[in-house]
């Protein structure tokens, strides 16, 4: 059920390869898979239809490039179109260009993450942009909601508007603005109660708040797990209050996040920020190029490279790259990698970001690759002779028995390690062929199997 698109498309494209031109049937077949992938990723049906229609047109009118296969060309068009739909490359910053105190209004359904995001935003603006931020909760509906924001504000080290029992949301909003003006705050973040798009009364209430405060940003906070209803929510909030930006929360989950595409298509508003955890610092800019790959189930290559870059010491990486270039990635290097991987996060999550590596990641996951296992693998490698580490192909039955005995594991464990090393070095070779620059430039298309030349 969760087979990813790259796998499915690989099959389709295998058949297309080498035909040289894009014909209607090729495109239709590939786009059927794309449609399914988008629906499984929870992109809303009307949005999927529009998207597929636009891509079909582009694909049919595209100049056929000599250097690539038709399949690759289709996927490049799909990927580019997705990025464009999501807002084009790069992040859109918050717009706080208004006279201080600048009001920011948080709206959305119940439980979408508004209050947490208000706290995160407070922390971010206060610490990174040195703004004086006031947090105010207008949520008089959910039990202890105002207290929740007050506690988050304390955690963030940002002031919050004192709670006055029995006050209406409008009255709180007015008090927040006047307090901020009097006390010289730069930004006032107004958190509101969650409301259903069909609740007219509450929608009128939030509109009244907007009219009273004229927010510079009205942020719709949406859960990344949202399904087809995303379009209804987006439309209703946009009609009621006018959305200037979208925040997608729980991107630390494993939902594919198709709602991003739906919301963006319906409101035209950019996705400005994403929530990636429950802690207050877990707020990031939205990068369409990363989410495009995630929606398609093709992995976040740029994210992988960045994360790897942060973690692996530069020199080590360069050394490794040089070795890889010569095709000399050996078990010694693998042991080094194992140590780095424990630093980078789980191997499977790293591999999960690589297109085509999904299966390998799943295998690794099955084998419950954890710190303990990594250490055991390291022990196995340490029981090998330097010669064995350099040339694993010489490790036959009797050597395996000796290594197993030396590291206190079974021969099967040794075999497993060798197999994993094999898989990994194959993949490493593929990554290396492109180099990190290549990865950045060509994105995930560069890693698709069967790719022969660059796009340009």
């Amino acid at each position: 059920m969760f087979e990813n698109l790259s796998g499915k498309l690989a099959g389709v494209f295998e058949r297309l390869r080498g035909r040289g031109t894009l014909n209607e049937t090729d495109v239709a077949e590939a786009l059927r898979e794309v449609r399914l992938a988008l629906l499984e990723a929870d992109v809303a049906l009307p949005v999927v239809k529009d998207f597929i229609a636009a891509v079909r047109e582009q694909a049919m009118s595209a100049q056929v490039m000599e250097s690539v296969t038709p399949g690759q060309q289709v996927i490049k068009i799909v990927h580019d179109a997705l990025i464009a739909q999501l807002g084009g490359a790069g992040a859109v910053p918050l717009n706080l260009n208004a006279p201080a105190p600048v009001p920011v209004l948080m709206v959305g359904l119940q439980g979408s993450g508004k209050t947490t995001t208000a706290g995160k935003l407070g922390l971010r603006l206060a610490s990174r942009e040195r703004k004086r931020v006031l947090l105010a909760s207008l949520d008089t509906q959910r039990p202890a909601a105002q207290l929740q924001l007050e506690q988050l504000a304390k955690q963030a080290g940002v002031p919050s508007l004192p709670i006055v029992a029995g006050e209406t949301p409008i009255a709180i909003a007015n008090r927040a603005i006047s307090t901020a003006r009097r006390e010289g705050f730069d930004v006032v973040i107004l958190d509101t109660a969650g409301r259903l798009s069909i609740n007219q009364e509450l929608m009128d209430e939030v509109r009244a708040v907007r009219d009273a405060t004229h927010p510079a940003e009205t942020l719709l906070v949406v859960d990344a797990m949202t399904g087809q209803d995303a379009v209804n929510t987006a439309r209703a909030f946009n009609e009621a209050v006018g959305i200037s930006g979208i925040v997608m929360t729980r991107m630390d989950g494993d939902a594919r996040g198709g709602a991003a595409l739906s919301m963006r298509a319906v409101t035209g508003a950019p996705i400005k920020l994403v929530g990636v955890g429950e802690k207050l610092d877990a707020l990031e800019e939205f990068h369409p190029e990363r989410v495009a790959g995630r929606i398609l189930g093709m992995g976040d290559v740029v994210g992988l490279v960045e994360r790897a870059q942060e973690t692996i010491e530069r020199e080590e990486a360069e050394q490794l790259a040089a070795k890889l270039a010569k095709g000399r990635f050996d078990l010694e290097d693998y042991a080094k990698q194992l140590r780095q991987i424990t630093r980078m996060g789980s191997l499977s999550s790293i591999l999960g970001m690589l297109p085509g590596a999904g299966k390998l990641a799943a295998q690794l996951d099955e084998s419950k690759l954890d710190g303990k296992l990594l250490r055991r693998q390291e022990a196995i490698i340490l029981s090998m002779t330097p010669e064995e580490r350099r040339r694993p192909e010489i490790i036959k039955a009797s050597r395996k028995r000796r290594i197993a005995a030396g590291s206190g594991v079974t021969v099967a464990d040794v075999n497993r390690l060798l197999k994993q090393f094999d898989d990994l070095s194959t993949m490493m070779k593929r990554v290396n062929k492109l180099g990190q620059k290549g990865l950045m430039r060509h994105g995930l298309a560069a890693l698709l199997p069967g790719r022969r030349q660059s796009w340009h």
Binding site: M1, F2, L36, L39, E40, A41, D42, A44, L45, L109, Q110, G111, S112, G113, T115, G119, Q141, R142, P143, A144, A145, L147, Q148, L149, E150, Q151, L152, Q155, L196, S197, I198, D223, M225, T226, G227, Q228, D229, N232, T233, A236, R250, D252, G253, D254, A255, R256, G258, A259, E278
Partner: protein, 306 residues
Amino acid sequence: MASSGFFSRLKEGLARSKQKLTSGIAGVLTRRKLDEKALEELEEALIAADLGPAAAAKIIADFRKTRFNKDVSEEEVRAQLAEDIAAILAPVARPLELDPARKPNVILVVGVNGTGKTTTIGKLALFWKEQGLSPILVAGDTFRAAAVEQLQIWGERVGAPVIAGPPGADPAGLAFDALSKAKAEGRDVLLIDTAGRLHNKRALMEELQKIIRVLRKQDATAPHSVLLVLDATTGQNAIEQVRVFKEMVDVTGIVVTKLDGSARGGVVVALAEGFGLPLHAVGVGEKAEDLRPFDALEFARGLVEV
């Protein structure tokens, strides 16, 4: 749980969002014969209700076998499709039952963040109180800001005591102490709230396993129910949620919340087929009395707008 007023309320909520679907199906139904085009539109209507492309295709394929090329009226198609879907859901529509001999029945409430766990505990507590039982609540979410106070307010609202520890306290220890207390007081139900957690966070899932392990030191049969609370707004990721929570903490049943909104929660059809876990109840509002039993036919009708 009485179902009076449920559907009038549910329908009222759904009316707006379903306009599109309704007109879609109505369009299908002005034709006399149910042809390929009509079936395709029906399938799309199901996809738009979050059934997912695979489940929608399967239901329509079955529907096709019996109905294709038949002369059908609008009502017939809708009613039949609803019945087909209800047949999938009927086996899992089972109420959450307590064993009156157990003092207490231990119920652990779990789910991803913000789905409605705490609210559902308040609702369940009221429901059992009204039946003359004595629930007791445990504020096992010691992580999220003001989660304890939130449950305490629910306790006051419905008249049930709430056991709480200091912020950051170990939820397993708290649950253990609460169980001793509930036993000593001869309570009928112990409802344990937990912090929302994403199923892909192993350490947090292991924390739930620890709560269960610790409870079992005192009562080897506890917890007697592990309720997974799902938000009806959730799309296909609900399948992964159920799979992982079931695997990690042996979920025994599901509550679907926020069905008073425009989301229709069609993913439960795939859940019913894939996991067969009981669907106990649905949440239809933010108030204590907004909990209803899960009714397969009515839910299915909601999906196809009968």
